[in-house]
């Protein structure tokens, strides 16, 4: 099987508009979850969000594009992270357009972030909005395909909160099987009334900044952003910088409930175990876990149980959603990049706001640590619809 390496990363989140700003944010130990400046929702007044700290207009102005008509916030976030990733990997335009290059994206909200316009357009107005072509889940991907002239295999996955983790998996498999030489993979989602109201209706939207793995957690903080990774076959990467090798992945169904995980943590346990098996690693060889860690009652309790079932003694773990909020379809690839920052800079970032850990004996990381020898990292993503995915990245 062909080895797959990460050669490029692009990330925009509440912590910053590129990978470097995100790294600084993580090192500062300060959350990006704040009062919203741009989110047009009732909840902007009462709740905290992991909002990208720029208006949609400013974001659109920040990069050069041939067409800027009808770009939603999801679209522009995706384009910014995509653009950073391909430049980071040094991909030439002809490589991006090659049939050997796949593009696998993910989103859960897609263009539904423009809900007011969508709602108005659905009533058949005489003059439709500029967003008419922007609503589908795949709209951001189709715009990237057009802008960057992608011709090879392209896809958009929506498995709720594990979407972009599955995009990483699909891109990896395309390379491993020799179908393509490289794949640009990841996902994007922006704050939307749709998800804020949805999670609020489910009573899992916290009005405080989320407190993953804290006994008194009140739910998730909604975030937004985009994250893309460039994956390349080993033969393409001999003279390139490489962030990690993708060594394992899994995808299982918890087969329990559409909006919560089984109390016995069966899906969580299976996802991690299958990823370990595919990587040929024993549980004791994982040095750090970037958890799904949303801050909801159900997730954190079940995930912790799953971790203890697989690992016994749980390796150092954190919930970086305490910095970025839960950016849904972008979360899997966003957290993969954060895990790769830990791996490459040999440092671990503290999990924020966990004052009274669910399990006193094994709390999440409390302090920043550097010079940590990290060889293998695990990143978990669990979604509505029982979708459980785990990824393992290994040091070169």
């Amino acid at each position: 099987m062909i080895n797959v390496f990460v050669t490029g990363m692009g990330l925009v989140s509440a912590l910053g508009s590129n990978v470097n700003e995100n790294l600084k944010g993580l090192r500062s130990g300060q959350t990006g979850i704040k009062k919203s400046r741009f989110f047009a929702s009732k909840y902007a007044e009462t709740h905290f969000f992991g909002e990208v700290n720029k208006s949609t207009e400013t974001l659109i102005e920040s990069i050069k594009l041939t067409s800027k008509l009808g770009l939603t916030r999801t679209d522009i976030l995706a384009m910014i992270a995509f653009n950073e990733a391909i430049h980071d990997a040094g991909l030439a335009p002809e490589e991006i357009s090659s049939f050997d290059t796949a593009f696998i994206s993910a989103s859960t909200v897609g263009g539904m972030c423009a809900h007011d316009e969508l709602f108005a357009d659905a009533q058949l107005p005489e003059k439709p909005s500029v967003y008419l072509f922007s609503y589908p889940f795949a709209a951001h991907a189709l715009k990237i395909i057009e802008e960057f002239k992608i011709r090879g295999i392209s896809n958009t996955i929506n498995t709720a909160c594990s979407s972009s983790a599955n995009a990483i998996t699909m891109g990896t498999k395309l390379i491993q099987s020799g179908r393509v030489k490289r794949a640009i993979v990841g996902g994007a989602d922006s704050l939307s009334k749709y998800t804020a109201n949805g999670f609020n209706a489910l009573r899992i939207l916290s009005d405080d900044p989320c407190r993953p793995f804290d006994t008194n957690r009140k739910g998730l903080s909604l975030g937004e952003g985009a994250a893309y990774l460039v994956l390349e076959a080993e033969e393409q990467t001999f003279v390139k910088k490489k962030y990690a090798r993708i060594s394992g992945f899994s995808n299982t169904s918890d087969a329990f409930h559409l909006s919560s995980l089984s109390e016995e943590a069966e899906g969580v346990k299976m996802a991690i175990e299958k990823a370990l098996t595919s990587a040929g690693l024993k549980p004791g060889m994982i040095d750090y876990i970037n958890t799904h860690g949303t801050g909801t009652e159900n997730n954190d309790k079940v995930e912790l149980l799953g971790l203890s079932k697989v690992f016994g003694l749980i390796p150092p773990y954190n919930a970086t959603k305490s910095y970025t909020g839960h950016s849904l379809g972008a979360a899997g690839s966003m957290e993969a990049i954060i895990a790769l920052l830990s791996l490459n800079y040999k440092e671990l970032y503290p999990s924020l706001y966990c004052e009274n850990p669910i399990d006193e004996q094994t709390p999440p990381l409390k302090k920043y640590q550097n010079n940590v020898d990290i060889k293998h990292v695990l990143s978990n993503s669990f979604g509505f619809g029982s979708n459980c995915t785990s990824l393992i990245f290994s040091k070169i």
Binding site: L132, L142, R151, T159, G198, A201, L258, S386
Partner: protein
Amino acid sequence: MFISDLLCISHQKTYDLDLFNNGPIYNEGIKYFALEPDYTSLIPASTLRRMGKFMRMGVGTGLPMLQKHIGVEGIILATANGGVDDSMKFLNQIEKYQEGTLTPTNFVQSTPNSLAGTLSMMCNNKGYNNTHVHEGLAFENALLDAQMFLESNKTKVLLGAAEEISDWNFNINLLKGRFKKENCNPESLLESGTIGTVCGEGAFMFVIEATQRNVLAQIKDVGQITTENPAEIFELLRNFLKKNNMKPSDVDAIMLGYNGDARTDSLYNDFYNSMFKGKAAFCFKNLCGEFPTASAFALWLATYIINTYPIPDKVIKVKPQKEINNILIYNHYNGLQHGMILLNKAN
């Protein structure tokens, strides 16, 4: 990979295969609504009441397949829009109650992966589970996913697609100019010569197996390209045939996604005339309407054609002169996303 079983809900009587006995049925109008079966023996009434049409049709086709076939190791689905009607209902709630206290059912059901999740729950299937939403290539990507899944030492997977017509996606697509303005006679849809098409829906499920034992057909390969340049479509076609060690003359029949839209149907003419002139040619959207995952209906229909079921007159563009051992399906969505599926007869 091989198709060992399949089930389809569409605008035609496909659930009971009556289409092949009594031919197509035609209703006037540009919404080709699905003919839904009686689900009561399959889904408990209380559950059924809460299900939107997308979920109902998807469970109605997927559940019998999962019940009938033991050892299904994964569920891979495609849908561009998922439970759109639930999305719209939830948006309506947000508007109506000004982001007040809302009920979450519509929200939870509106995520496109809720169907694959529901099927996994109903059958306690803890295997691989994925949902592709890439508009006109969602189904081709699900096929590709299934292909790679079976390559990883797996034997059996449920593959499918589902799409529903709701006021929301219909109206948005109407504004985009996708549908015909005039009330189109369904019998002459493909010869209308006017712009726009008709809107379809349905659910299509296939049991896909790695080994050729008691199977109906072989899915030899799937290919895709996103482009508006016709020259690149032919580049894909040449590469696709070459990859499968075929010459154009080896292809027995072509199934083309004609939808009656004068702006983009010429691509199908060009495709056929370029290399396949004189060969058997079929169409299918005059039966099922247009929707992003319509190639799933094409695959369903092609599987029956290759198994020598009586071919409805209305799908024959060029009559077969000899036995059909393979069918190349070419479908595009709005002239931008192009997919190819090669189906072989099972030996």
